[in-house]
Amino acid sequence: MSLTSQDDLADLAVRVRSGDEAAFRQLFDALYGPLRRSAVALVRDAAVAEDLVQEAFVRLWDWRTRLEAETPLRAWLFRTVRNLALNLRRDATNRQQLLTDPMALASAAAPRPAPSPDAGVAGDDLAAQVSALVDELPPRQREALLLTRVEGLSHAEVSEVMGCAPRTVNNHLVAALITLRRKLRDVGMMAGALLWWVP
């Protein structure tokens, strides 16, 4: 995808504000995947995640004329998806507490199944394994890592999305990388990673 450079996004943002549907489409194409991924990481349900992303784009379209020219659209979209996800989680937690369904609680607390021993052999599973390791990170660390390293947002943008100082983003990131690196070494995946993905 070539449309992710800051200049391209700023240009698209200007056109979207003036009601250019083609630009809106381009923005959608460029950011749908990244937004969906970050939503899945937050709600862990693809269908719900897709709804959230759609809601964010609907709001962007409805709000386009009142967004200030300086508003970084990409960060705005990520933040909107995140807020929607957090609202959803809060509502779900409230409902859960009201119902106090012992079965649901039990299944939520069940440990994730252990990966099969030969899963690491297949290269295709590598990304899945990495994502499994990433999933085990504490939520804030995972979020900071995915937004910067996978979606390519700047620290400033991530601080905008997560509502914390850039310094804090950096702290989360460092912690995440240290944990991940240690886990990858433990799993012995580094050699595999080198073989498969480094040219």
């Binding site: 995808m1 489409r25 959608f28 194409d29 749908y32 995947g33 969906r36 991924r37 897709e50 992303v53 759609q54 784009f57 609907v58 709001r59 379209w61 409805d62 709000w63 009142r66 200030e68 300086e70 508003t71 590598l126 990304a127 990495v130 994502s131 990433v134 890592l145 390293r149 996978v150 979606e151 601080s159 905008e160 509502g163 100082a165 850039p166 310094r167 804090t168 990388l177 991940l180 690196r181 990858l184 070494r185 995946m189 580094m190 990673a193 080198l194 498969w196 993905w197 480094v198």
Partner: protein, 325 residues
């Protein structure tokens, strides 16, 4: 396990490569669903029954009801048509009355404690950045059609805000509990007073008139004033540092410690208490161009004043220096 830096760097490269691979594979899966998602989005956006997501659009009063009554003029007026006419007139009257009552209720915008500053565009084109923990209310009729349009632009402020006022001939007035600032078009910051600290005004561009009780003063770009017990006190300001908080920065020039702690508490959504031994009216000067952490600012304030602070369950407590007997 310790590692030499070069080896560590190598690992970082590998990790990035793995993460890139993760992105690549999941992107390929996404494209399939993207088209369907776009179609779904289009269907939703173009659904005529959809109510667009907006917060407080000052909708112009609609008087389309009158169109309904015009065809009846060609038909003989029957009793039921007469009754219909009366109900339409009543509905019209109610609509106009309702719009009038609705228009008279101000629009209230609040910014949560701990939230980042984002500009609010007022219907007259002015922009206002309200700092965390602040609230702004303004007349709903700012940009209504002529006869119903508000003749003055009065806004009420609690907390801190930076104003970029659009010139449109009507005076623009910001009122806080103890002061009022009147302008025609300019850039300035107002902070409403809290407790013992009076409201403060700092002008970045243009000219404003500040009134507090019977005191009245005119400020030009680069000047500031604060409401105090004996009226208005002029304050020096650094023009390029006005409203640095909009970009996450923090600036204070000879500010009372109490006011700085209030601001930190609002900005970071934490509770900050001070022991009675702490002189909250002692002044400090601070400047951070980029977003500082709360502990960094607290640390600097305390170092400057010979104070200490500690964490509490809900925030921080600032304590006076321990005096040797």
């Amino acid at each position: 396990m310790t590692m030499d830096p070069e080896n560590e760097l190598n690992h970082a490269d590998q990790l990035d490569a793995v993460l890139t691979a993760y992105r690549r594979t999941s992107t390929e899966q996404d494209i399939v669903g993207r088209e369907a998602a776009w179609a779904r989005l289009q269907a939703r956006l173009h659904d005529p029954a959809r109510v667009p997501f907006t917060d407080d659009v000052p909708a112009p009063p609609t008087l389309e009801v009158s169109r309904v009554s015009s065809p009846s003029a060609t038909r003989p007026v029957t009793r039921s048509a007469q009754r219909l006419g009366w109900s339409i007139a009543a509905a019209l009257l109610l609509t106009v009355g309702g719009v009038g009552v609705w228009g008279a209720t101000p629009v209230e915008r609040t910014v949560a404690r701990g939230a980042a500053a984002a500009p609010i565009r007022l219907p007259d084109g002015s922009r206002v950045w309200v700092a965390a923990g602040g609230a702004l209310s303004y007349d709903r009729r700012l940009a209504w059609p002529a006869p119903l349009r508000a003749t003055r632009r009065d806004v009420e402020l609690q907390g801190t805000a930076f104003f970029d006022v659009a010139r449109d001939g009507r005076p623009f007035r910001v009122r806080t509990g103890d002061a009022s600032v009147e302008v025609l078009g300019t850039h300035f910051e107002v902070r409403s007073g809290t407790g013992p600290f009076g409201s403060r005004v700092q002008v970045e561009e243009g000219r404003v008139v500040v009134t507090a009780g019977s005191a009245r003063t005119e400020l030009i770009a680069g000047q500031g004033a604060m409401v105090s017990a004996n009226g208005l006190t002029r304050q020096p300001i650094a023009r390029q540092r006005v409203a640095t908080w909009r970009a996450g920065g923090l600036a204070a020039l000879d500010e009372p410690i109490g006011a700085v702690l209030d601001e930190l508490s609002r900005r970071f959504a934490v509770e900050i208490t001070a022991d009675v031994t702490v002189d909250l009216l002692a002044t400090v000067s601070l400047f951070y161009p980029a977003a500082p952490g709360v502990e960094i600012v607290l640390g600097d304030v305390c170092t400057a004043q010979g104070l200490t602070f500690e964490r509490t369950s809900r925030g921080y407590r600032v304590k006076g220096a321990v005096h040797e007997p």
